[in-house]
């Protein structure tokens, strides 16, 4: 018989976690379905469950001017993040296409990260912004960059006595951003291919450019090398370099065949999106 712990505060949660291991349940929109059983019976959990959705200490979204970042508590709901004035516009666009209102009212950003799905849409933005994940245990805080935190398909670098405390998203200057989600339906769809790109241009020169693909690799695909090869160059020159960019972008991804799509389609669409992103830099 597994235990179900509803802690009254964060300290209590950390003390319980220290005697882990636990499944950590936030909004439940992924975990409740992954573990679901027949109607009328409880989901099947192999470990004890710790419920953190109602911990007030983890439910916040705030701008940190001193460190030029947004801090989002692990239990903040997607809908609240979407509605917050300080949330980056790119992340808002992504959240608007995650699930549906009924999902976004309980799902959390912390949960989307911990779930570590190759098709986790919010992750694409977090990789682009070089977000950091703040982990907390009775031993204190540990800060891990998102690309190190997610170690593979549904694998994360979380110790059994830790929980995700907050997500730190640096605020970076950008001229424009683009988000593409290819799915079977506008709401409640799991991406076949997704793409996020941002750039900063100054007097025809591209000072910063970042782009990443979701759903076409085990984890979000981003190539710092390719991005660096485009920085500090005139826009026309970058657009002229399109054939090489597309060739390199194609090497970034390793799509698979599954129930949602197939690798040929995914590769083709990823290339088309990349081409459209580059051609529209202005």
């Amino acid at each position: 018989m597994v235990r179900h712990i509803i802690p009254n505060n964060l300290n209590e949660a950390l003390n319980f976690l220290n005697e882990g291991p636990f499944h950590i349940m936030a909004g439940g929109t992924d975990l409740m379905i992954q573990k679901r059983s027949t109607a009328g019976t409880p989901p099947k959990f192999a470990k004890d469950v710790l419920y953190i959705a109602n911990l007030a200490e983890l439910n916040y979204i705030k701008k940190d001017e001193a460190h030029r970042c947004i801090r989002i508590g692990a239990a903040a709901k997607l809908e609240d993040i979407y509605n917050h004035v300080d949330t980056p516009a790119l992340l808002k666009d992504i959240i608007r296409e995650i699930g549906s209102p009924g999902i976004r009212h309980s799902a959390t950003l912390g949960g989307n990260i911990a779930n570590a799905s190759p098709a986790g849409d919010s992750l694409v933005a977090l990789y682009l912004f070089d977000a950091e994940i703040v982990l907390l245990s009775v031993d204190g805080e540990r800060i891990v960059p998102i690309k190190k935190f997610i170690t593979g398909v549904r694998r994360i670098d979380l110790r059994s006595n830790e929980l995700i405390k907050e997500i730190v998203i640096p605020i970076i200057p950008i001229t424009a951003y683009k988000w593409y989600k290819v799915g079977g339906r506008r709401a409640d769809s799991i991406s076949k291919v997704s793409f996020a790109g941002v750039y900063l241009s100054n007097f025809g020169l591209v000072a910063d450019i970042r782009f990443a693909f979701g759903s076409v690799s085990a984890t979000v695909a981003r190539s710092i090398e390719l991005e660096n090869s485009l920085k500090n160059r005139p826009i026309e020159q970058i657009i002229g370099d399109l054939p090489r960019i597309l060739e390199e972008a194609d090497k970034m991804i390793s799509p698979i065949d599954d129930q949602r799509s197939n690798k040929i389609y995914r590769r083709k669409v990823a290339g088309n999106i990349m081409e459209r992103f580059i051609k529209n830099i202005a």
Binding site: I6, M25, M32, G99, S100
Partner: protein, 157 residues
């Protein structure tokens, strides 16, 4: 076993049940509130929509534990309100209900939308109801019904 307390359709209740139970099952099996339906059971169809603190939520992927301290409204609770009468009339006028299985969920999603946005555009209604599937595919009538409700119920939301 933890006691989980919440307000259900205006009444304070406490239950001692497995906290991992789906809120959907607790509502239907424990409280016999069967207006909340199970469709897909995985958060994609919205038949199980209820309001939690005024916002529409899929009760099929919402653990009972998370209901602690919350205000929960089901279609049965909403039925006692003037807003429900308006929504019901509007669905009737526009032919927004065919087989009926999605209707309670559609009404809850519409109530959630209208309470946050009393004068939604067609596009906003489509987004507001985007998590609710109608297998009779009567979407246009449902969208019109919500529009009509917003008009008939002017000032209620």
């Amino acid at each position: 076993m933890n006691s989980i307390k919440f307000n259900l359709n205006g009444q304070d209740v406490a239950v001692e049940l497995n906290p991992s139970l789906r809120l959907l099952d607790v509502l239907r099996d424990h409280f016999h509130l069967t207006g909340t339906k199970e469709g897909c059971g995985e958060g994609e169809c919205g038949a199980c929509s209820v309001l939690i603190n005024g916002r529409v939520v899929n009760s099929c992927c919402f653990p009972l534990a998370n209901a602690n301290g919350k205000k929960i409204l089901t279609i049965e609770g909403l039925a006692a309100t003037k807003r429900y009468q308006i929504l019901k009339d509007a669905f009737h006028i526009e032919g927004g209900s065919q087989c009926g299985i999605c209707t309670p969920g559609m009404i809850m999603a519409a109530e959630s939308l209208l309470s946050m946005n009393p004068h939604p555009t067609d596009e906003e209604i489509r987004i507001g109801l985007s998590g609710n599937l109608c297998r009779c595919t009567g979407y246009n009538m449902i969208i019109k019904a919500v529009k009509t409700a917003a008009k008939l119920g002017e000032g209620l939301w």
